[in-house]
Amino acid sequence: MLRLLFHTQVSLGLGQAAAVAVLAILVARFAARRGANIGKEIPLVLLRGLVQILLVGLLIAALLRGPWWTGIPVLAAMIFIASTIVRRRVPELPGAYTLSLLCMCAGAGGVLTVMTLLGIVEPKIIILIPVGSMVIAQNMNIQSLFLNRFLGEVRSHRGEIESALALGAAADRAAEPYLRASFHASLIPATDNLRSLGIVWIPGMMAGMVLSGSSPVYAALYQFIILGMIFTAGGISCLTATYLAPRRIFTPQQQLRPLS
């Protein structure tokens, strides 16, 4: 029906986006009435997402004419921005920005570099940016989940942690059960994506490749590779965090900081 109202592809797209946004806002209203604390944020978040992705579309259109290495600063900028978003999830954690940045450089940054050097990710803008951004975005989610869960665990187990310290435990050791729980929890979505791949979920990238004429078998393999990269990047970044995060919540005298 929308096709009758909108003639060009872009205006059609805008109309479709508006329809989706209206639906999302309705859902948020409903949720707000039920007491969920998301209602007010949603229109702004939607608008922001739309503007961002549109700008990126324009940017990619421009970049596609440039050499492949222009992808590197673009992906680096994404990691920097992703770190500010992670920090916003855990404002009480001292040094959360640097921590996330280091972790995601090791995770998404390391994995993308190695995969490009191995030739698995082709050094072409049209591959580098979409694949890279998928890995970085998922790494960001995993990193947020990890730190959020870790802080929550620490807050609800202050007594246990300080009891361990009072018995002479090293700070890392006192925090270990909660690091382990957070590591596990933060990788659940990525693990479930791998588990359900192709059965519950046919990811967008694969759909896109098939639509644009690639062999479905190659598209399937490539999708598997991407999920594998997401999992590996997330694993590396959280593993890095298990070493770095305790240093942010304890003082050098092995005292648990207030964190509020």
Binding site: G159, E160, E162, S163, A164, L165, A166, L167, G168, A169, A170, R173, P177, T251, Q253, Q254, Q255, L256
Partner: protein, 233 residues
């Protein structure tokens, strides 16, 4: 008395702690001093919010003094390794805060942090001392409040601390366990000649257990002396 003759195990010297809050500085404890010889029990009394836990946490160095210090056997405790200090100055909190697992695993935790393993007989011995013989393999999730507190006392004693800090160890318990745990603690502490700082808000408990009493009010010392001097008014 010269430093050479000083037999004090624990000495607080004008101990203070001030927080830098967004609303301005907040003084939790100001200029609190006392000295304890080996085997003495100091009861710290005071209303809620007086700074009793703040004082105790600083003695275990869970919080940092912002002014003043603590001398442990005459030595500034900030010059000591924190983990080593915490092994020698043990702490029992208001709640047991046991680690998931069995009672025995909890008792073994402290020594294991310092590279020492306890033999089964040592664990049983400790459990017997706190009246929990035969509970070694019990999952701590299934213990009553009083039983859990006993295990947490055994866990603290496993480190063989020279000083034991008790933060209202009986206040979360019902009346019967309250008396039992109080008697248990007094006999354990006396038997081992352990120096003890015992926070309580119960004046009669302080009279029963203490050699010395420190009264705190609004973060400041409002009296230091024997129970007779301070509590028999």
């Amino acid at each position: 008395m010269s430093n050479f003759m000083n037999t004090d195990v624990l000495q607080a010297v004008r101990l203070s702690r001030t927080l830098d809050l967004a609303s301005g500085p907040k003084c939790l404890l100001r200029d609190v001093s006392f000295r304890l010889e080996q085997g003495q029990i100091l009861a710290v009394l005071g209303p809620s919010g007086a700074g009793k836990s703040t004082l105790l946490r600083m003695l275990n160095r869970l919080d940092e003094p912002t002014d003043g210090t603590i001398l442990f056997h005459g030595k500034d405790y900030r010059e000591m390794d924190t983990r080593h200090l915490r092994r020698r100055i043990g702490m029992v909190m208001q709640h047991a805060y046991l680690f998931p697992g069995t009672s025995a695993e909890n008792v073994r935790y402290g020594p294991a942090q310092h590279g020492d393993g306890l033999a089964d007989t040592q664990v049983s011995e400790l459990m017997r001392h706190v009246g929990m013989a035969g509970y070694e393999d019990r999952d701590v999730a299934n213990l009553s409040g009083g039983e859990a507190q006993r295990v947490s006392i055994a866990r603290a004693l496993a480190n063989q601390p020279e000083v034991l800090l008790l933060d209202e160890p009986t206040s979360a318990l019902d009346d019967a366990s309250k008396q039992d745990i109080e008697r248990l603690l007094v006999s354990l502490v006396r038997e081992r000649n352990t120096t003890c700082v015992w926070v309580t808000h119960d004046v009669s408990q302080a009279k029963r257990v203490a050699d010395l009493v420190l009264k705190l009010e609004g973060g400041q010392a409002a009296g230091l002396g024997t129970p007779q001097e301070l509590l028999d008014a």
